[in-house]
Amino acid sequence: MTQSFRLERGGLINRDKKISFKFNGKNYFGYEGDTLASALIANGVHLIGRSFKYHRPRGFFGAGVDEPYAIVQLYRNGETEPNIKATEQELFEGLEAKSVNCWPSVNFDVGAINNFLKIFLPAGFYYKTFMWPKSFWYKIYEPFIRKAAGLGTASIKHDKERYEHKYEYCDLLITGSGPSGLASAYSAAKNGAKVILAEDKSRFGGTLLTSDVNIGNQSGKEWADSIISELEEMSNVTIKNRSQVFGYYDHNMLVMSERISDHLPKTKKYHPKQRLWYIRAKEVLISSGSIERPIVFGNNDTPGVMLSSAAKEYMKVYGVLVGKKPLVFTNNDSGYETAIEFKKNGVDPIILDTRKEPQSEIIEEAKNMNINIKNSYVVVAAQGYKKVKSADIAKISDDKEELGSVENIKCDCICVSGFWTPTIHLASQSGNKTKFNEEIDAFVPGVSKQNEKTLGAANGIYTLEETLKDSFEKGNRISKEITNNDNKVSFPNVVEKKSTVHDKFWCVPLPKGKNYKRFLDFQNDVAVSDIEIALKEGYRSIEHVKRYTTLGMATDQGKTSNLNGLQLVSKIENKVVPAVGHTTFRPPYSPVSIGAIVGREVGKHSKPTRKSPMHSWHEKNNAVFVDAGVWLRPRYYKRSDENLFEASKREAKNVRTNVGVCDVTTLGKIDIKGPDAAELLNRVYTNAWLKLPVGKARYGVMLREDGIVMDDGTTTRISENHYHMTTTTAQAANVLSHLEYYLQLVWPELNVNVVSTTEQWAGAAIAGPKSREVLKKLFPNSDVTNEGLPFMGYMEGDLFGVKAKIFRISFSGELAYEVNVESDYGYFMWEKIIEVGEEFGIQPYGTEALSTLRIEMGHVAGSELDGRTIPYDNSLEGLISKKKDFIGKRSLSRKAFAAEDRQKIVGVVPLDKKTSIPEGSHLVKDSNAPLPNPKLGYISASCWSVEHDNPFSLAILKDGKNMIGEKLFVMSPLKNKVIPVEIVSSHYVDPKGERVRS
């Protein structure tokens, strides 16, 4: 296939390297250096998709980031990615792309019927069209809209690509490598400042690549190349192409996405696909340039209508003609530059200029080239459905209200220029108070909030000489303040053609009897009529108009549509544009892939994984692990073909009959030292702590100031001024911050230090009637009898030469001990316990058996201490001291907390003694009551009681104190279960607590 729209010569592409690619299943080729858009246009392909709402045919409108609608689905190396702009995607060998928004195909599209049923889709169609009847939504509207709309399909496969994050600091971040970016970077670099220069495109130079200028006896491009190669040699400068600074956040932090591999057929080994840079800059120079804005006329969304600057870029950068019979429709001199470029390439353009008698150097040149220029002329409407075939044009009156007689002329593209809009997105995101510049009919940055300045075209400066002067000067001055160097750069001689003022005309009136759609926002299909309806319906604030009509929303962020939308609102409202104001520009300036935002934090890397020192033993012994916060803990140890239920039952039963050992390293541990340590504990815990003797442990509950239980655990007095606190695994970090808060801010007079020692100690719980026998073997030199080490006692011991802490505490409700050794000896300790315990039938047990044991004992844990319960609810009121004050005590006397029928923890047993009760189920009185069925409580934890061999649950139940013996129903709508149950005491096993003291 020949590239019928490729010029014989010219452009910055590499004609020696052909690249083949596929679009909608057809094979094409282009050259290295092409974008998908330039290669398609070279092949004469202009129909690229369908519009979002009306499914009108869509072509190319721009040549870069400003492109509102040439969005495709990309296929690369076995993966697919939606929302790719064909104008930004660089061509690579084997690239495949497909149209989006068309079903079943781009040429025959069912949704285009919307175009003929416009009544269905007026402004606010999201809000009013598909709402009634309600029952239609799930079955008819939603599936149809989903199929017919949407901008592509996200892959549901795991993304195998690698994305990285990088944090960087610099003196100056410069966003854009056009004339202002290069000049400011150059003078700042010469002053020794640390500079990052970011360019969104693959080529540096911005408009210098396409404009006909001369700088220091070089072409714009040559000058740009020489500056770049000089900057590349400087160690204080980082230059990045394919890098979009898309967001300006607080305290001068900007985020940039660098596309490292997107232009390659496949990511190189050990390379990331993209890298996200978090850049903290001392100063930011915004040199993002400007975007040409369209003039609004009938059917201005027809493929073949495009920005005149884009047409010029396709010729100068890619050697591609966007048409062979071009019409240039302009209100300023920029259109002439495009026409001149056409003419130089042997194509005869016609210029329609809305101005009456403009005169300038550029216009003179066009006239000298014999270009056909029609003054006071406008395009009334484009004709042609899938591609422009002709244009209806007419003379327009001086007041721009009346159209002359309409004539039709043949053309295959309409290049439109409505003057230039500074790209102020980053400045606006930074909090800059933008102001309206009457001269250019656009907003420019005003008063800075952060350390940011805007240069060149982005600041509304449209001549090269002025831009360069200003940028050299600012780059020098700002860097001088940081580095104290003042190395002046000599200013080059600049030659550019002078232009004259533009015409403030932006919208062509409709001819009598015609009802052409005139689009403002090409991405979101918002036409002039939609805005008119919104205003008629009473929307006034520009922010409301935006949301009601979708003008300037989504990925486009109003790049081409914003100002014309404002012009329209201000015209109807009879206000000036600055009084209407613009909507908020939000990051990202242009879409960023989710992968880049997530970075390396995927799967197992999304949080740290903490393992106990005994982890490898668990692995060797068939442990099945479970995530407990950031810890990996054995859930059960699988024997032959046991399942979770069988294994945990075996392990729990062995604790009740023999002895088991559980890895409790994950418990939070806080070392507390100082003369006021007891006083701190006394204020933090609800019970009394001042008289705890050395060598004794005590169970404690701590509250938040609002009276809700925060955590529980045991704390042991190691010596006079030294305590060892344990917390639950989940709350360890919060409890430490809590203690630090009170010590540093509330009671700084307390002489206490706290430090986390969770990772310093490995812990093993040895539980069961035979646990003392195991302990005797572990510590033959210590007196571990009931007298020597009573319940809640503490001692130090010698574990085969390793110093150990022995606590007689129990979570399982059995006779039990916890042994701690320094982490490095954890594995040794564990092996010894297994070794000496063998003759007593010791088995390791995991978190599932641990839960079973504590649930049937009625010991509370995280599922009861869930941030909603007070001590009474958990039957912990016995631990509330009446004598002293403590954190949260005052809240407990609040009315609701003292209510007679307050919720309380109870036990729940199914009447059939067989059916397991799902956690989270509700307790109700009558299972047949009409909805909403009054809920009396909820199941907090469930297990299979190994003691009673039937299911048992804990529940938090309203008036639980008086409900023991009642018959209720457990309902689980999620699992579709209704289970008749009896309410029993939460202490289902050993209610008197004799075993722990035995």
Partner: protein
């Protein structure tokens, strides 16, 4: 992301800190009688100011000190930071 000057460590990124609420709230003295209204004000009632606001942050992934930060809640500008034991003036 904010840049917060820890009075102990210097300027650090926000992700090293955790927020701790209004720094001007004083905890009532232990063991003193207090009305329901005053207690509610201490536990629950906050002004949610727009503008300059003294608030607490903890330098969690740094020195672990609680610090006082004067920040504009609308613009995020930070004017001053103090150590835990320094009085707000």
């Amino acid at each position: 992301m904010l840049h917060i000057k820890c009075p102990h460590c210097g300027i650090r990124s926000q992700n090293e800190f955790s927020y701790g609420g209004d720094a001007t709230i004083k905890r009532p003295e232990l063991g003193k009688e207090i009305s329901d209204q005053d207690w509610d004000n201490f536990v629950y009632n906050r002004k949610s100011l727009r503008g300059k606001h003294w608030e607490l942050w903890q330098h969690l992934s740094g020195c672990r000190q609680w610090i006082k930060v004067q920040r504009d809640t609308a613009t995020h500008e930070i004017f001053k930071t103090l150590k835990a034991n320094e009085e707000i003036s």
